[in-house]
């Protein structure tokens, strides 16, 4: 069973990629399993300067999901280039570098530098982080702003640029089309939905930040719908994510039109989830009558209705 996937800039041995912010820079999981097994890693969002992120509590549990408001804590692009990426280069692993910022200039600067690093094979433009006051999601909710940013980053990036879409929009297809037109090489979707939880004992919001991003199985039907709709309207590839917990969920994403998938929250539930899915995927594809993973991608769009 072939489970290799070819995407702009990315030759993936398999389509399983830990999602940005849920896998750090791989160091912690490398203590648990051989991370070279992964298709790729979407590393933690990188900004120009180091960022401290939001006050704690930063996470809260919800029914079928969780809220997070980490707030883009990261050591800044220089440190990541001097320390984290070289460490990752010991593995035969194409890296997808998640880029964040609070101005077009910051995105451009960070993407430019990251894209020159050897093992960085693609940039993931995070225009959808709901957890920072300025920037982040603001870039992902307006077609023109998103397109402008994409263009600017495309101009400087030495590697393909994937734009990570926010689900907190009226019409995600329009945003997808806008960034495609602006030159995006691919899409990753979706980022988290904005949510809130209140502590009944105190009446206060559980997260210090007030709101946070909702991830986990609760959001899967929303993500599947969005990917399905975007797949029909754009021709650049999609890396799908949102609530994947097992190999069947991966199959659902492939059917909807994702060429590869990101695994986020599930890493916290079962730290071995990625290698487990990688192992199971060929069998599950076979069970469903596929000979090549390619035949499963977009299957729902081709299957005959009776």
């Amino acid at each position: 069973m072939n489970i290799k996937v070819e995407l702009p800039g990315l030759s993936l041995k398999n389509p399983i990629i830990p999602a940005s912010g849920c896998f750090g820079f791989g160091r912690e999981f490398a203590e648990l399993f051989d991370i070279e097994k992964l298709g790729s890693i979407m590393i933690k969002a990188t900004t120009l300067n180091s960022r401290k992120g939001n006050p704690t509590p930063r996470v809260a549990e919800t029914n079928g999901g969780m809220l997070n408001a980490i707030g883009l804590q990261n050591p800044g692009v220089d440190y990541i280039i001097s320390t984290e990426l070289p460490w990752l280069s010991q593995f035969n692993l194409p890296i997808i570098a998640n880029v964040a910022g609070s101005s077009v200039e910051e995105y451009v600067e960070v993407a430019k530098h990251l894209s020159t690093v050897d093992n960085v094979k693609a940039i993931e433009l995070n225009i959808s982080c709901p957890n920072v006051k300025e920037g982040g999601i603001a870039f992902g909710t307006d077609c023109k702003v998103a397109a402008h940013l994409t263009e600017a980053v495309k101009r400087v990036s030495c590697v393909p640029v994937y734009v990570k879409l926010s689900p907190n929009v009226t019409d995600i297809v329009q945003i997808a089309k806008a960034v495609e037109e602006a030159g995006a090489d691919g899409l990753t979707m979706i980022n988290t939905l904005i949510g809130m939880k209140i502590d009944l004992a105190t009446g206060k919001k559980v997260l210090a930040n007030g709101t946070g991003g909702l991830s986990g199985p609760a959001i899967k039907p929303i993500s599947i719908r969005m990917i399905h709709d975007v797949y029909k309207q754009v021709s650049i590839p999609i890396i799908g994510m949102g609530g994947i917990q097992n190999t069947n969920d991966v199959l659902e994403y492939l059917y909807a039109g994702a060429q590869a998938v990101g695994i986020g929250t599930a890493n916290f539930v079962d730290p071995y989830i990625c290698p487990n899915i990688i192992e199971e995927l060929p069998y599950v594809l076979e069970q469903h009558g596929f000979k090549d993973i390619k035949d499963a991608i977009g299957y729902t769009h081709r299957v005959k209705l009776d």
């Binding site: 912010g21 849920c22 896998f23 750090g24 160091r27 912690e28 999981f29 203590e31 648990l32 933690k44 180091s50 401290k52 992120g53 704690t56 509590p57 930063r58 996470v59 809260a60 549990e61 029914n63 079928g64 999901g65 969780m66 997070n68 980490i70 804590q73 986990g216 199985p217 929250t265 890493n267 916290f268 539930v269 079962d270 730290p271 071995y272």
Partner: protein
């Protein structure tokens, strides 16, 4: 070897009001060899409780391949935990984090173990190990009220024990710090675990006077340092943080902002 295992419940019973002691057995016990580390528990397959629950390791018995956890019923997760029966298995991820460094104290020195409420738990294995090295162990256990008190006798096997209750319903009336001062307890190294206010008080009081180690808590997701949910500031460095799950949960006195 995977750091995750379905461990079998040997015992699970209430030892004080809403406080349970759970004994678990499994092969991964052999990886557990440090007082103050914790495990991250997948309590149920119900998706309304998707995150694991961090619980400190209270006691380690390599011979029996057993560990003990002590937990207080707080919300839905610990409530479900309390209903589990011997023979059932639960999925345990751990040991995680850095516990109390055992050799942080010299053989002739005196250790003061200060536990507040459920924070008493991770100090127990420490007491055992220190006393095995013939170190003099004094324990101060603080609780809200009499019905909360647990492990007084257990700690007494390893040295003198002082119990304080906030409402004075049992033994000393006041908090642990009041007790330490009022009884003028002497010691060289202090080890604390408990509510943040207690840890802060200990930190402020002894930061320049004593060596010591405090175990912190924060809401967690991954438990291994990957998600940055559980950070706290390094002391005097408002731009640097540590992850409680990874660099901690035990930190040196004065190391972090409490």
């Amino acid at each position: 070897m995977k750091l995750i295992e379905d461990m079998k419940i040997v015992k699970n019973c209430e030892i004080a009001k809403n406080i349970y002691e759970m004994t678990l057995t499994g092969d991964n016990v052999k990886l557990m060899n440090q007082p103050g580390q914790f495990v991250n528990i997948k309590i149920t397959e119900m998706s309304q409780l998707i995150l694991r629950r961090p619980i400190s390791i209270c006691e380690i018995d390599q011979e029996k391949k057993q560990i003990k956890l002590i937990y207080r019923i707080k919300g839905q997760g610990t409530e479900i935990l309390a209903k589990k029966l011997p023979g059932e298995v639960i999925n345990i991820f751990g040991p995680l984090g850095n516990g109390y460094p055992e050799y942080s104290i010299k053989n002739h020195e005196t250790a003061l173990l200060v536990g507040g409420g459920i924070g008493v738990a991770p100090l127990y294995e420490l007491a055992k190990r220190l006393s095995r090295r013939k170190i003099k162990v004094k324990s101060v256990l603080g609780f809200a009220t009499m019905t909360d008190v647990f492990y007084e006798k257990e700690f007494s096997f390893y040295g003198e024990v002082h119990v304080a209750t906030i409402d004075g319903s049992y033994n000393f009336n006041g908090n642990v710090l009041d007790l330490i001062k009022s009884k003028n307890l002497q010691f060289d190294v202090i080890y604390g675990c408990g509510p943040q206010a207690m840890l802060k008080a200990i930190n402020d009081e002894y930061i320049n006077l004593k060596k010591g180690y405090l175990s912190l808590e924060e809401r967690m997701a991954c438990g291994i340092g990957a998600c940055y949910a559980c950070v706290c500031d390094k002391a005097n460095k408002s731009t640097e943080t540590v992850r409680i799950c990874k660099e901690g949960p035990v930190f040196k006195l004065g190391e972090v902002e409490i």
